[in-house]
Every structure is written in C-alpha cells, then in structure tokens.
C-alpha cells in the first residue's frame, strides 16, 4: 500500500503483484479504518474481487490495457454504478438503483480499473463539510475531529487514508479542490465539457464538473486520460480532441509566466495559508517561472454570482422534493436549496452576466500569463460541528469563505487543480493553479513541476 497509481501500474503490468492482492489489501484497510472515517457509503467487495481476478487473468494473457488496469479506485456516490443505488448522500435517493454506469465510470472500467465502492459526500453535493446526516460525518484522516471538506469529502478522505488508490469526484463550487486541499491530496477540476457528466446526478447544471482525485499530479493525469472525451449523452460535452495529459509533465516551468492576483485571492486568508502559498509561488519562481501580477476586477463578485446560480439551479432540480419531502433533507441543505426558490429571474440573469465579466477578466489575464495561482481554500480544515460559527485566525464561519477562491473557475469553466503545498499545525494546505480552457496539459505541467520540487504529497496521515 501507500503506492500511487503511477507506482502501482508497472507492478501490476509486470505481474510483480496481483490486482487481487492489492484489492484485498484495500478492502482489509477499509474494514479497519472506515468505521471511523465514514468515507464509503457502499463497499462492493465481491464485484471488486471479481474485477481484480479478471484483470489479473487479462494481464497474465498479455492483454494489459494500460496504467489503470487492475488499479482499485472509488467513486463519489453521485455517479451511477450499474446495480447500486446512487444516493447522492441523501435519504431521498437511498433506493435510487442505477441501471447503467455513468460515462466516466464506464470509461474507468474499460481502462481495467477495479471499483471498490461508492464514497460518502455532503448531502446532495451541496456543502463543503461532508457532515452527512444520513450516512455519517466523514472524518479528515489528518485530524478525526475535523471535516475533510466537501462535497467530495469521502473520496478525499479515502484517498488520503489509503482506502483506494484514487477516485472520481464532482466540483460545482469547490467540491473536488476544497477536500483535496483539506486532506492533502491532488484534485483536478477539468474544463467544463472535457469530462462527461452523463450518469452523474446534478447539483447545478451550468457549474457541475466531474474530475479525478488522487495522491499525485501524475495520477490525476492518468485518471483524466481515461475519462476525458466527447459524449453525446452530456449536452455540455465538448467535441474536441483529447491530448496526452502526461506528455508534458516533465517539461518544467522555465519561461512560463505565473499570474498572481492579490486583490481577491489573498485578502481573506489565514496567515499560515498565506505564507505557505507565497512560499510555493517562490518555489515556482526558483524553478524558472516569472511571477506577474494580474488584475481580475470582477472576480470579487464570483462567490455571490456562483451561489445565486447554484441555489437557483438546485431549486429547479429539487422542486418536487422540496414540496413533497422537505422533512427528508438535512437542515443546512434544505435552507440553501429552498433559498433558490426565492431568487428572482433577474437576479439569476445578473449572476450569469457576472459570469461573462469574470470570463473577460480571465481572458485578459491570460494574454499576460500562462496560469494563475492562488490558495485553494483560505483556511485549513475546520472542526466538525463548528463550521457555521466564527472560528480560526480569521474568526469567520468556515462555510462562508470556503469556496471563494475556487468558484471563479466553475463560473468560467476553466480547469483548476489543487495540490499540497505545506502544513499548518499538522493540517494540509492546498495550492490552486488555474489555466485557460482546455489547457489541462499546461495546468498539469506546472503542478507536476511544483510537486517534483517538494515532498508535501508524500506525507501520510498518522492513522
């Protein structure tokens, strides 16, 4: 265990270890640790073993499918897995059995991956804590009294605790990147349209993204390679060629221009997070990149615009349940989704117009720089049960600021990645890198250069 996908793949390919052995090891670790972490809603041990045996047989016959063949993964429980309920972390969908795989899941299976089970999440993917009233509060492996982030909290917790080698999450405002930051792993929100959302239940159609979460940048590149591509089942899917996401991982950052927007991303931030992100930017400069200040004047409205869109679109999707089953929601999620019923059409459209202005800001910035860097979340993982009250060095409710640095990329659709850049009192801190639409190879290249120069991603929680 403790191996990344990139390390595990060659061992499986060379039959130095079998997929069944690796799968059994993960299942045993899940059995030991998951009662405390609550990272899984469902563990599919028997089908995982069956898939592992099939992978071993295929590899033994010389039919190696590629770097995910025989690798045990987990998926967030808002993606359909044929034969299992897709609960979205809710009571309402407890019996919502899927009859086919989500496109991204089907692609993982086609790549030979072994699916260990479905990960817990914030109810209906609408929140950043993963304190789930129906399936248990997911714990942060770095400190069991703290949240793992959300909504893909189960996926992040499972990966950090070595309960799977990697997984798939979704991100509507922060939900891949914030838990990646809080749990000390890597999370990539691809460009809108790069990965199919077919078979993934929606939170907000215009903001939802499916993407990979793993222990290294290279692993995220491998997962993205498997799941990217056009899909007619997703009306937002982009019919564009899929590049080789691993090809430029070793190209470094010499000559690249790193954009820094101090006016928004660094004005509300815990001092330790600020220090660690600044140190990471210095490291990129030491590796040969130039750091250029950029202005994004409208980005300060991103959080409000994003929250207007998210609540309104969610209210539209939930309308019948809001009427028929309001008692089956957790209180925090019911408030935000119901709140969307109060938002007026003009407010929704004004938020959409803000989206255009923010896109124009980034478009201008990318004339001057190649990527923009920022903290992923301005704080470290808050304590369970205390995310709605002022706390921490900033003395603000964690929930009120957790998505402020991530949601701009949901509005613009640009790809963004979070990777570990240090620790504050034993808690991970994430560096966020944002790139122009469909420039995932560049994004991964910058992230890989930073990762190769540091050792933060190699640390493991003391479980």
């Amino acid at each position: 265990m403790n191996l990344t996908i990139s390390e595990l793949g060659p061992l499986l390919c060379d039959q130095k270890i079998s997929s069944l052995e690796v799968t059994e090891a993960y299942l045993a670790r899940i059995e030991t640790l998951d009662p405390r972490l609550r990272a899984y809603i469902a563990v599919t041990g028997d089908t995982a073993r069956e898939a592992a045996r099939r992978a071993d047989a295929e590899i033994g016959r010389g039919n190696y499918r590629g770097p995910l063949h025989g690798v045990p993964l987990g998926i967030k429980d808002l993606l359909d897995l044929d034969g299992l309920p897709t609960t979205m972390g809710s009571k309402i969908l407890r019996d919502n059995v899927a009859h086919q795989d989500a496109t991204a899941v089907r692609k993982l299976k086609q790549a030979g991956a072994v699916i260990l089970g479905k990960h817990n999440l914030h109810e209906f993917a609408f929140g950043i804590t993963s304190e789930n009233p129906h399936y248990g509060t997911v714990r942060n492996p770095w400190d069991l009294d703290r949240v793992p982030g959300g909504s893909s909290g189960g996926t992040a917790s499972a990966i950090a605790a070595d309960l799977c080698a990697g997984g798939l999450g979704s991100d509507t405002g922060a939900s891949i990147r914030a838990p990646a930051s809080f749990c000390g792993i890597v999370g990539l929100k691809p460009t809108y349209g790069r990965v199919s959302r077919a078979g993934a239940l929606p939170l907000a159609w215009s903001l939802d993204h499916i993407g990979p979460m793993a222990r290294s940048v290279g692993d995220c590149a491998l997962l993205l390679q498997a799941i990217a591509g056009y899909d007619a089942r997703d009306p937002g899917s982009a019919d564009l060629p899929v590049p080789d996401f691993s090809a430029s991982l070793g190209d470094g950052v010499r000559g690249l221009r790193i954009g820094l927007c101090r006016e928004y991303f660094f004005d509300v931030i815990e001092p330790d997070v600020d220090r660690l992100v600044q140190t990471a930017i210095d490291a990129l400069a030491d590796l040969g990149a130039s750091v250029v200040e950029v202005s994004l004047p409208h980005v300060r409205h991103a959080q409000v615009a994003g929250n207007v869109l998210m609540s309104t679109e969610a209210a539209a999707w939930h309308a019948t349940w809001l009427r028929d089953r309001p008692d089956d929601y957790g209180a925090d999620v019911l408030l935000r989704i119901r709140g969307g019923l109060l938002v007026r059409g003009t407010e929704y459209l004004a938020a959409q117009q803000m989206r255009t202005l923010i896109q124009q800001d980034f478009s201008g910035a990318f004339q001057e720089v190649d990527v923009v860097v920022a903290p992923t979340v301005p704080l470290v993982a808050p304590r369970i049960g205390h995310t709605l009250e002022p706390s921490g060095p900033l003395n603000v409710p964690a929930r009120s600021i957790a998505n402020r640095a991530t949601i701009p990329c949901n509005l613009t659709g640009m790809p963004a990645i979070s990777l570990p850049c240090g620790f504050s009192d034993g808690l991970p801190v994430g560096l966020q890198i944002m790139a122009p639409a469909f420039a995932e190879p560049l994004l991964l290249r910058v992230a890989a250069a930073y990762e190769a120069a540091t050792e933060w991603h190699t640390r493991r929680p003391p479980l």
Binding site: V308, L335, G339, Q353, L357
Partner: protein, 70 residues
C-alpha cells in the same frame, strides 16, 4: 437596505413571512421562514453590489439552440 432599494436587484423588503410561505408552498416553522429570509437577504444584498452599468454591456452566456436538423 439602501443598496437593495436603489439596485435593480429585487428588494427583500417585499419578502414577508407569508409571501415566503406562498413561494415554498409547504408548511414551515417560523424559525425556518426567518432563516430563509435572512439567507436570501444576505445573498440579495451582496448581489445588489454587482456593477449594474457594466452588466448592461454584456449578455449572459445563454443561447437559443437551433434544434435538431433533418
């Protein structure tokens, strides 16, 4: 509240517990209604700070679609 009154964004002063009850369409406690109004008021107040003059110059990213061909 001044920002709400002068803004193009809806004024929360129009929201009353009864109007909220009508909008959500199901029984809700006074506490739930108060929380909803407070939630919306905070969001609407922040949205009223959007730069109105600049918004007039841009279209929202919404498009009519041509529909299926033959």
């Amino acid at each position: 509240m001044e920002a709400l009154r002068r803004g193009r964004i809806a004024s929360v002063t129009e929201l009353t517990p009864n109007s909220v009850r009508n909008i959500i369409g199901v029984p809700a406690s006074e506490q739930e209604i108060d929380a909803l109004i407070a939630w919306y008021e905070a969001l609407a107040r922040a949205a009223a700070e959007f730069p109105e003059a600049e918004l007039k110059d841009v279209e929202p990213p919404l498009r009519s679609t041509p529909g299926p061909g033959r």
